[in-house]
């Protein structure tokens, strides 16, 4: 079996699904009787179906030409770009909260990521801050998450 077949994204996704069902089913065995009933009712058929799907994906992967799933150059680059920015949004907001991180991330995405003009970036960042602070904090009186790093610094 070629290593490429195992590293195929479809195979890995199916394997992940199977792993989730098997792991959760095994963990359910440690619950009391009534508590484990539903997880097992779902997990056992899920594991069986997961195994079937993994088998299908492996068989398909072995029969298809290699690198069919490795996206065309530009799409692959765009994918890494978007995954990186999504992760950056998560880390930024988690660390520094909505009011500080979100406008900066919007500005960064528009200007650095999408090469938009400074005016567009600043307009986007301002609009974001206006909605978050002006609408949610001021009008709706909903305090927004301040970020773990900011909370730690202030503490």
């Amino acid at each position: 079996m070629s290593p490429n077949a195992l590293l195929n994204g479809r195979v890995l996704t199916a394997a992940t699904m199977l792993a989730v069902f098997v792991t959760m089913s095994l963990m359910a065995l440690g619950f009391p009787e009534k508590a484990r009933l539903m997880p097992l009712m779902v997990g056992v058929p899920g594991s069986v179906l997961g195994l079937a799907q993994l088998f299908i994906e492996l068989r398909t992967a072995l029969n298809r030409p290699p690198d069919l799933d490795a996206g065309q150059g530009e799409a692959h680059g765009n994918e890494r770009f978007m995954l990186a920015w999504t992760l950056l949004f998560f880390v930024g907001i988690l660390a520094f909260g909505f009011l500080y991180a979100a406008p900066l991330l919007v500005f960064g995405f528009l200007c650095l990521g999408k090469k938009e003009s400074l005016a567009v970036g600043l307009a986007g960042a301002s609009a974001t801050w206006a909605v978050l602070f002006g609408l949610f904090e001021s009008v709706f009186q909903i305090p927004l998450f301040e970020g773990l790093a900011v909370a730690w610094i202030l503490a």
């Binding site: 963990m27 508590a35 009933l37 539903m38 999504t86 938009e116 986007g124 949610f136």
Partner: protein
């Protein structure tokens, strides 16, 4: 029929300046999200969630239903002007809508779509009003055994229809059910899969899960695709006189309009069968019932009227299983269902018992939103021609911000941001490798219903609960749906083999 209650609900909507204000905001918002390909109505609903958080439950529900009701009205515009469907079900409108534009009848096509959407939405609501008194006793007769199997039926049916692979659909549905067991077990108080995290004791947050599985993958995919909406770079132009002619066409073909509205509403009632099915079935009906079928595909106004009435009338139909059974009629309804629960409106038989005022109010909101959309279009008409200049990819950072905000606001737990990102990654893999996502949401939402109903049914009747008439009917439905599914797959495979043989 509670006539007083029905009209009291109407007064509740139009007599309250606050509700009217919310409706007037929701309608253009819904049309906007429907009109921008790459965004879509589901995303609009999930992004509206942070804004309705903390609202009066009924007001929030009116806002969301009104927004959802007009998404396909907006989606018809890029379909007709540029040949790019705003939402999936609007694809059928392209077949005759785009040729009408090319024939210089863009305004007429838009008017036909607008009028059809408005009439279809109203008829869908009236259909629901009419059928409600018949269905209420049926809903109240449902017991835990029936609800357990109805929920399973809903999940399996949607798994069958959501994608090409039944195994993938079922796996995703089961995954949603599995994730619904992450909580403090209501039967024994045991911590299940919570790893001592307090925020998981009440279960995986539905809003976070929906945002993660739908919103984040859509934004990643939009960015990967380059965010281009269409190759058209010029403003599409049309006159209001053409629009008015199109609206008149809807009433000129009143028989077709009425029939496709009712068909759409009926299809909307069946969980999982809404969306594309309603618009294409009604388009097919329009072709078959026409005396001049050769005109279709070349700019026949009936080819725009039929799918557009169905697109909007099905929303009225799909409210029925969503509100009364807690089984979403479509993936959009699944998201609405999650939002209703967040607002404190609990769908299910309890609503049929003492929440009918909420039900009537939402039906009126649905109908009024469709009428308002038609009127509002005349105000906003010039703006829609500039849609081609909107680059969807520029909206990505704002949508991501609102997505994270919505997830945080639902439970004020920063841990949900982590869960959101993890599910977002999983959702993107699902989208990329063609795993259907609607069954996951439905499994997650129905998981507690399935488990609770099962324990109750088992406690009351033991394993013999499966022999109750209602339960056996549900099981028969599940078996029939599997049979039809495999029969249709076999037919499709045979057709492909015949075509290959001929070629």
């Amino acid at each position: 029929m509670d006539i007083v209650g029905i009209f009291a609900a109407l007064l509740n909507v139009v007599g309250s300046p606050y509700h009217v204000f919310l409706l007037l905001i929701a309608v253009p918002a819904g049309m906007f999200f429907g009109a921008i390909p790459g965004l879509g109505g589901k995303l609009g609903i999930v992004l509206a969630i942070p804004f309705v958080f903390g609202m009066d439950p009924l007001a929030g529900a009116i806002f969301l239903v009104s927004m959802h009701a007009v998404v396909h009205t907006g989606g018809s515009i890029p379909s007709i002007l540029f040949g790019v469907p705003g939402t999936g079900p609007d694809a059928a409108t392209i077949v005759d809508g785009l040729p009408m534009t090319r024939n210089g009848e863009a305004g007429r096509a838009i008017g036909a779509a607008l009028g059809a959407s408005g009439v279809g939405g109203v008829i869908g609501g009236l259909f629901l009003l009419a059928i409600m008194p018949l269905l209420r006793p049926v809903v109240l007769a449902f017991g835990p055994a029936e609800f357990f199997l109805l929920a399973l039926f809903g999940i399996t049916f949607i798994a069958m229809l959501a994608g090409d692979s039944l195994i993938k659909g079922l796996l995703v549905g089961l995954f949603g059910l599995m994730l619904a067991t992450v909580n403090l077990d209501p039967q024994t108080g045991t911590q299940r899969y919570t790893f001592d995290f307090l925020f998981l004791w009440d279960g995986v947050d539905i809003i976070t899960a929906v945002l993660g599985i739908f919103a984040i993958p859509e934004m990643i995919a939009l960015g990967v695709a380059g965010g281009a909406m269409a190759d058209v770079k010029q403003r599409a132009s049309y006159g209001l006189s053409g629009v008015l002619q199109g609206i008149r066409d809807v009433f000129r073909h009143w028989g077709l309009t009425l029939r496709t509205s009712i068909i759409g509403a009926f299809i909307g009632m069946i969980p999982g069968l809404g969306g594309d099915a309603a618009s294409w079935i009604c388009y097919g009906h329009a072709v078959q019932s026409s005396k001049t079928p050769e005109r279709f595909g070349k700019g026949a106004e009936e080819g725009v009227i039929a799918p557009e009435t169905a697109n909007n009338s099905k929303e009225g139909g799909s409210l029925l299983p969503t509100l009364f059974f807690g089984v979403p009629g479509s993936s959009g309804m699944a998201i609405l269902l999650g939002a209703f629960i967040m607002l404190g409106i609990q769908p299910g038989p309890g609503l049929a018992l003492d929440g009918m005022d909420v039900v009537w109010t939402l039906i009126w909101a649905l109908m009024i939103a469709n009428v308002v959309a038609v009127a509002m279009f005349f105000v906003l008409a010039p703006a829609f021609g500039y849609l081609s200049y909107v680059r969807g990819s520029l909206l990505i950072p704002f949508v991501l911000t609102l997505t994270y905000l919505g997830s945080y606001l639902s439970h004020r737990a920063w841990e949900n941001l982590v869960l959101l990102t993890v599910l977002g990654g999983l959702g993107y893999l699902m989208k990329k490798y063609e795993w259907p996502r609607p069954p996951f949401v439905i499994g997650l939402i129905l998981g507690p219903v399935v488990e609770d109903s099962f324990h109750k049914a088992f406690a009351l009747w033991g394993p013999a609960f499966l022999l109750r008439p209602g339960a056996m009917f549900m099981m028969a439905l599940i078996i029939v749906s599997f049979t039809v599914y495999f029969w249709r797959r076999r037919n499709k495979t045979n057709q492909i083999q015949v075509q290959e043989h001929v070629a």
